[in-house]
Structure formats: structure tokens, C-alpha cells
Amino acid sequence: MESYFHDVTEIVTRLVHADEVHLSNFHGEDSDFVRFNAGRIRQAGAVEMRSLTVDLICGRRHAAGSVALGGDLEVDRARIARLIDNLRERRALVPEDPYLLYATDVRSTGKTAENRLPQSAEAVDEIRAAARGRDLVGIYAAGGIYNGFANSLGQRNWCANASFNLDWSFVHSADRAAAANYAGFEWQRDVFRRKVDLALEQLALLSRPSRAVAPGRYRVYLAPAALAEFLGLLGWGSFGLRAHRTKTTPLLRMIEQGERLDPRVRLLENAAAGLAPGFQEEGFLRPDTIALIDRGAYADCLASPRSAAEYGVQTNGASASEMPQSLDVAPGDVSADRVLGMLEDGIYVGNVWYLNYSDRAACRTTGMTRFATFWVENGALAAPLEVMRFDETLYRMLGANLIGLTAEREWIVDPGTYSQRSTSTTRVPGALIADFTLTL
């Protein structure tokens, strides 16, 4: 695929005029998707897709467009030529862009991971074996993901991974289920079986009679998967320079009123430890780390080139969305095996679901408990909890009411597949929290 990318880049370069600059972003994917329900295959298939996005610049005017490519260079050459002609026509009709900024310091990079994936049918056989006699539902997605950047200054960046992501649940009944995930580059039977065994342990606990609790405030433990959901919501408009300057960030009180989280809270955008490409749409490279929250205080923003130009600061290689792609939360000092004891009487929240802001300016979030969530009594898992709605501010959760973060962290690979397979990751501990508000 990399040589095809270079061929496509060559086609673009030849089509571009001497007074023009192109910024070209390539995406390719070769994926198998196998969906399960009740331990059987619900839908199975394969997707091969390639696309190219070109931003065609002349002076301070530019227009961008993307085109699907098939892989046949003759067919693709004609499509790219039509795209370039169209962009040139359109560019003449738009005003100059005062915030245009792209990389002019040529920094080429390349990363191609060896494909160590099994045949998907082999993985499916193992999943079906684990599902035998059980109600397994979920999806296995696997294959190559390819991203490239090229510009007319000669910069070339390439990132190719071959990965899999099995995201599944063992369902006990109705909304009682144990969720699990196994993602990586090489399918290891023993690792998969350990994950299956852990999920089955939770499934066994779900067979106990459930317990309902009244709305109120409870001591809770948010397992890493649950805390990652909160951080996922936070990533949606909290850390970008644009949101910071326009005061639309949900973390506004940290900026305007000096509000702080607990000093043990430290969030990094850790590109060095993630799966996402190390470059962005305008050709800037992502630094290894950017501190977003440091010792509980708002630190740096994710500054895309466009926002950086608008607000007169340096870009730090953020993509246009200014969302974290490789979020990394510093560990705490609570050993995971002490969590239930420290909860004593409270709630172990395995997963949460469908988070949103109920008061954005106050960073107050609502959502639901989901999957393996248990009432804890005398430091032991006592009963599955009937689903509850929470409504709580980040400042209370990870501020005044934070008891501690676990020393152990989980590395969560986003199983998301909207438009294309996600390469976002989150490394996150669990969090013990006092007086967490349940409302319904």
C-alpha cells in the first residue's frame, strides 16, 4: 500500500502548477468485520477502501476536496485530475484565508508495522468456541489501516498498522452483561482466554439477585473503562485552543475562575504511546506529549494550525478537531486489589454509557451505569446493581471528592468504526470517588 501511496502522491505532484502547493492526506483500510449475536454470526464481510484529500493552495487562497480511490492507477489518475481541476476552479471564487497555515519545514517519517494478524476465520473460530453455550454479542474487526501525508515541498509521512479489535459482551439476561475487549496486533490464544475467563467471572456474579438503590450520593469506584468514557466526553471540545479562546470549553471555570481538579490528576496527550499517526492534515508532527491537565490545573491546549494562526500562537500538531487521540492519565497509588476494601459499602461501576453535559459551563455530566456494575457490601461484590442515572460535575468527581486513582492502568483501544476504524487510544486508571450523585 505504501508504494501505491507514493504513486498517488506522484500523480498529484505532476498535476499541481508551479505556483501552487498541495497538502494531500491518504487513508486506506482493508478490514474484516464479523458481527455476533447469541454466539452466532449475525453479519460478516470485508471492506476495502482508499481515499485521498487534497488541499490545493495558491497564495492565501485554497480549496479542499476528497475523492474515493480504487487502487487502479489509471482510473485513479483521472479521478484525481478531476478533483484538482475542480479545486482550482473553486479556489478562484473564494476569498483569501487569513488563517491558512501549513508545515514548510520538511519532516518526513515512516512507520510500517509487520502484519501479524491471523486469518479472520481462525479468530472467528476461537470466538465461537468461547461463545458456545453462552449469549455472546459484539464485533471482531481486523485488518490494515493506512495513513499518509504528502505535500509539494517533498514531505512524506506514512503510518501503517495491522490490528484487530474484538469488542464483546456475555449477556446474562436483559441489561445484565459483562463487557470485554481484546485488541492488539497479534492474536494470542492464552491472552484471549484470560479475558474470556475474567468476563465469565463477572457473568457469574450477574446471576445473583439484583439490587436497586435510591437516588442519592454514594461512594463509587469507576473502573478504567468507565473513567475512559468520562474522558471521552471531555475530549469533545474541552482541550482545543478554539474552545479555550471562544470560551465554549466545558472546562471554562478552570480558565476563568481558577477552578482545579485534585492535584493528583494529570492528563497527557501522549502521541508517543498511542496508535494514531504522528502527523496531522497540514503536515505538522505531533510532539511526543502535551500536558493537558497538570497537577489538577488546566495546562496546554491542543492547537491546530488553523486555530494557532487565528489566535497568534504556535501549533502543537493537533488535528483540525483539536480532540485528544492518545489520552494518557497518570496512575495513582491505590492498588487495584484494595479498591473493594476501600469502597466498603458502595458501588463498583464497570462501565458507563451515553454521557452528555447537563450544564456544559459547569462541566456537569449525566449518563447511565451499564454492564457489570455491582453493589459492594463490607468490601465485597454483593449484587448486580439495577441501572442508575448519574449527574455530577467533573470538579467534584476528580476534585474535592476524589479518594484516589489506581496504580494499575488499562490501555483501551477505541473500537469505534464510524466511517473508518479508529486509532484513538486511552491509558487510564480506575478512580475511587466519594459522594457521587445518582439521580434516577
Binding site: N37, R40, G71, L83, V137, Y354, A361, R370
Partner: protein, 476 residues
Amino acid sequence: MWAEVERRFREVAPAVDFCSLRLVEERDEHLSVRRGVAQPPVTSFDVGGMITVVDGDGMGYGATSDLTLSGLRRAVERAHGWARETRGRGLVDASRLERMPRRGEYATAVREPWSASPLGDKIELLQACSRRLQRPRIEDWEAGLWYVEKQTLLLSADGGRLEQRFSHLLPTLSASANEGAETQTRTFGGHAYCRQGGLEVLDETGFHDAPEQIAAEAVELLAAPNCPSGTMDLVLAPDQMILQIHESIGHPLELDRILGDERNYAGRSFVTLDMFGRYRYGSEALNVSFDPQRAGELASYAFDDEGQPATRQDIIRGGILLRPLGGRVSQARAGIAGVANSRASSWNRPPIDRMANLNLEPGASTLDELFGAVDRGVYMKTNCSWSIDDSRNKFQFGCEWGRLIEGGRLTRVVKNPNYRGISATFWRGLRAVGRPDTVDVLGTPYCGKGEPNQAIAVGHASPPCLFSAVDVFGGA
């Protein structure tokens, strides 16, 4: 291009029980002006096809953006490979599925084509809107247009051919006002003013008249008190009703959710198969239809993506639940009649049950009559927050703007209006429904669901509605 791809498909289609090719070509254009600066215009051209093969009881798909003979041949091989792999292992016996009809077509009616207005004129229109959104305390403001043209061609190896052409336009406006640690945002219905058609959608939705009001309301909210808390009556405007319908009627009635397909991701449903035909979903004022034939609504079509002819169906009548939202595969699994709503977001995702156009039928009240029936309550407009449980039961929704109703009259504006409830009981509190001239035809281009994930356009038409005894509250 289609004719040549069609010929190639007929050449590579294997001798199996069933084989189809679903071609999708989509062109779109995003234009926006933010803080008075025209953003670079962005276009996209996407094209590809999905081969589906049924072999015995097995079924598989192969999707590709390579529509050459060799590309289609490879897609057929992969689809056939997965069809063989699923034989005897699948959840669905593909050999028993109803086949698609032979011929048919559909096209969006467009009065004013997108191409009739030059790019420069559209940018100038957005510049003018941007200027009208700007005022003191507005920190961020933006006007945008997103236009989409989509053509689909569903071919079966046994001679079936269904061609459909769609175009839709989504106009957007937003203004965020700030003072200190308070920021309030108002928009032009979020992403709700999305309809099939061309530039005439701008007139039909009132886009040209909206900027000043949106900006003024954002600023007004800065000084407004928080929405009060308590149990009270609630009047929801159409641009919040669509979210209420979508989340607590649409999703729970999707048959694939009821059958468990979505339990690992989008969730299950509190609705069970035995409820259809007898369950009281809401008060007698609740009438809901699946209507893919409503002109201009976002998810209108003649055939779904498995080729089933789409017709209007009553879903809830007089509050009684009648029919689920499930396409041919789900209907075969459940043994129950549904609707033609098996749809895919694009060529690279397989069809699943989606709600398409799901509408709440009008009643007899004017908007003033709805307010007049309230002694103490809140009128809420424009969704900004949505959250609902795995079973689509316990929900909490928030709106951009609220106004108190006291003694039958609108009084003070309030900020951060939220309410919560339970789907299974909430609709039984539906007390009155707006009459036909209060209906807004709206939708969303971003309904998310499925593994692999798919975001798809759905339409909702609704009048404003009055609900009794709702748990309402405000900000922190």
C-alpha cells in the same frame, strides 16, 4: 459509469442462490463562515459498491472502492468466502429471506438546484448571516451549509434494478455568548433543519430570518436565571420533540435492538415482541407513523437498501403500540410485520434496521392553547444534551433555551433547562398535541448505531406537545 459497472457486475456475479451489488455515489459540499471569515470550502466525492452473496443459508459481503472488473471480482470472492464461512453458523437463515423486486426508482423533488447559485453567492449569503449573528458578548458565531447528493443503484444478479437519487441540505447557524465563567449557545435547531431538496430548503425552514433572534437569545440567556427544579408541565418545541421521538420511541422500536443485535453497543430495548398490538405506549393523543413517502423529509425513499418497497405504516395509534421498525431480515427472525427500513450509511456498511422518517401526527391545539393549558411549567426549545439508558428507558435531555409558563402565559426566559423521565411512562403524560399548522419537518444527519458503526440521516416531523408532571431542573 453506472452502465459499465453494471455490465461488470453481471460478468462477475457467481452462480449462487443470490447475489447483489449496491452501488453508492455521494458528493457533498461544506461551506461555512466563522467569525466573519470564510472557511476553505470542502467537497467530497465517494463511490463504491457492496457485493452481497447468499450461498445456502450463509451470507457475506465484500465492499470495495475499486469498481474495475478485478476489483469487483475480488469483492465477490470475499463476499462468497464469508457466505461459506457463515453456513450453518449464522444467526439468520439467508436462504429464507424475501428477494428484492425487479425494477423501481426514486428521486428527490428539487425546485431550486444547489448548482443554480454560484459558489461566490453562497459564501456571500453566509457572510451576511455571519454579520447578523455578530454583536457584543458573542464570542463565537458561525453560519454554514452542507449539501449532499447521493445516488444508489441496487442490482441483483437475477435482473433486479432499483435506482434512487437523493439530495438534501442542512443549513446551520450558531452563536455563543460569554460573560465570565458563563457561556450560552443558541443554534438554528442544532442540526435539525435538514431536508431533502435544494436551496428552497432555506426559505422553507426560515433560515434567512433566523440570525438576529439566535444571537439575541444567546445573549439573553447569559443574564437569565437557571431553570427551576420540580415536577411541572412541559411544552416541547418541535426541535426538541424530534429528539424525544428519536430516542424514546424510534430506537426502542427498532426490531434489531429488540432481537438483541445491538446489546454490545447501541443497546437493547425495554420493548418486547409480545407488546405489539396491545401495549399502551402513550396517552390516546399519541399517534406515530413511519412515513418514507413524505415529500421533503430527510429519510424519504421508495425502497430500502435491501430493495424492499417502502410505504407509510402506523406505528402507534391512539397510544397503542402496533408495529416495530424492522426490515426484512428482522421480520423473518421475529415472525412479525415491520417496515422497509433496512438501510446502510454508505457502500461500505451493511444494511441494518434504522428508523428513517418517524413522525408524530398532529393533534388539534394551537401553540397558545398548549401554553394556556399550563398553570406552572416550562417551554423548551432546541436540544443540546441527550442521554438515555441501554434499554431506551431512563432518559435525561437538555435544551438550549427555556421559558417559564405561568398562569397560561409565557413569562421569564430560563437557562440550562433539563428534564428527565422514563420512556415507558413519559408518553402516557402526553396531554395535548399541536395542530397541523404547528408541525415542523425536521431530522438529523447523525443517528449513530451498529457494529461496524454507522451514522445515518433520519427524518422526524412533529408539532409542539404538552406533557404533564415532568421532573424538570436547571444548571449547577
